[in-house]
Subunit: 262 residues, 2 copies
């Protein structure tokens, strides 16, 4: 790993520290607000809580790994020999990415049988996407990285196909405000998830990955992408739940007449 | 950083330790009492919980940073060379200040569309206030500190304008007891937030900032201001929620007749 200036080391240090607290804060937030939405949709926020809780754990480990990879020697951060453990990211994704797609399916509130099938297919695709990406991450040659990367892209494209085509009718049945939010969350998902393959392809495009600016840019970029794809995503899941609840409120008050909502 | 006596070092050490537990205690308290107020207002206490939870995290980091900045040598605390990381305060404020204004807007329970607009404007102003303050904090010259400070004051004044003028009608529609509390919380907000610019201006007024009494006064002062502006503020948000609920109770009991409230 390359030598870093204090500013470069601190940027990654602070980005990881910020990500830890963003994940922890989101964990507490999702756990609380799940009780504010309709019971049938709560599982979506339960899943969102687990996603950010798991991510907080792995970011804490990455933070420790980052600190132990470097030591301050004569005003610059020198590599200690303990390589930063990138495998934590894959372990995190293996657990959280299937839950992220499942949260989106859950908040749509589709008929049980159908939802279960879509959920299963999307979760399997998400797991395949991560599992097929990892051998390329640790591969020594550009060729094998490219092959595993291409294989990993197949389930990614499949997930996008399901979200943007197959789920179209289910999204069309959402209340107006929720429809807009679901369309936005799909774009957030595609935009943030698109960042990971870009970083994955870097070693194929760039000759030397071990330059200080590149290491700093990749680690900081992952932090930003993870905060958007997990915390921002969960907040949108919550917003969809609220919008659906508000849209149903008048109907419900009519049917349950007097007592109704607490 | 200046050499400190053990009493000076311990005062900051204890103030930070006290602030950590005040934030953690408030976090647990707000999480619990959110369920005791009307569902439509709970989000205000959810936000208050997140604010103090995030602050607890950053105070824990500051506590560690403070400890590593000093070492006891021959009965006095000497600077170790690891400067106390003031950036933690800005990271904390960047996350918590927008949530504080949002909690106040939420507890007023204004019509959805209008609340959303005010919320957005206040949160943007809060973020600008912090973001514009930071370059001045790390600036080398008094002039650039003054310029950034002045720029940061613009959104602060805008926030005060919205709270004290634009929100007047909405506050007038609150139940009597809640009105008094909302007026008080505005004063608490103005009073505690006013402390931060005073500290900010110190380096312009005082020639040498690195004297022991000043460092101790600033760090202890920040702790007191943060406890009042976050824990005290949240307790008042809770009091407003309770007052509103109590004021609505007779009406609700009349409509729901017998069973009703738990």
């Amino acid at each position: 790993m390359p030598e870093l200036t204090t500013a470069q080391f601190d940027l990654v240090f602070n980005a990881m520290s910020f990500t830890i607290v963003a994940m922890l804060a989101s964990f507490a937030f999702f756990m609380m607000v799940r009780e504010d939405i309709d019971q049938s949709l709560r599982i979506a926020l339960t899943l969102s809580s687990i996603v950010v809780g798991v991510a907080a754990y792995f970011y804490f480990r990455m933070f420790e790994s980052w600190k132990s990879a470097y030591a301050l020697v004569n005003g610059v951060y020198a590599f200690t020999g303990r390589t930063f453990n990138n495998a934590y990211r894959y372990a995190d994704w293996l657990l959280t990415v299937p839950l992220l797609v499942s949260a989106l399916v859950s908040i749509l509130g589709m008929p049980r049988e159908y939802a279960r099938g879509v959920n299963f297919r999307l979760m399997v695709a998400a797991i395949l996407m991560i599992v097929l990406g990892y051998p390329g991450e640790i591969a020594n040659t550009t060729l094998s990285r490219a092959i595993w990367g291409a294989l990993s892209t197949i389930p990614f494209v499949y997930i996008l196909f399901v979200l943007f085509s197959e789920l179209g009718p289910a999204i069309g049945r959402q209340p107006a405000e929720a429809q807009v939010l679901v369309r936005n969350i799909r774009i957030l998902l595609m935009g943030t998830w698109g960042f990971y393959p870009l970083v994955y392809l870097l070693p194929i495009a760039v000759q030397d990955l071990n330059t200080a600016p590149l290491v700093v840019a990749i680690q900081t970029g992952y932090c930003i992408a993870d905060v958007l794809a997990k915390c921002g995503y969960g907040v949108m899941i919550y917003a969809i739940g609220r919008a659906k609840m508000d849209a149903e409120k008048p109907t419900r008050q009519r049917t349950t007449s007097s007592s109704g909502q607490d």
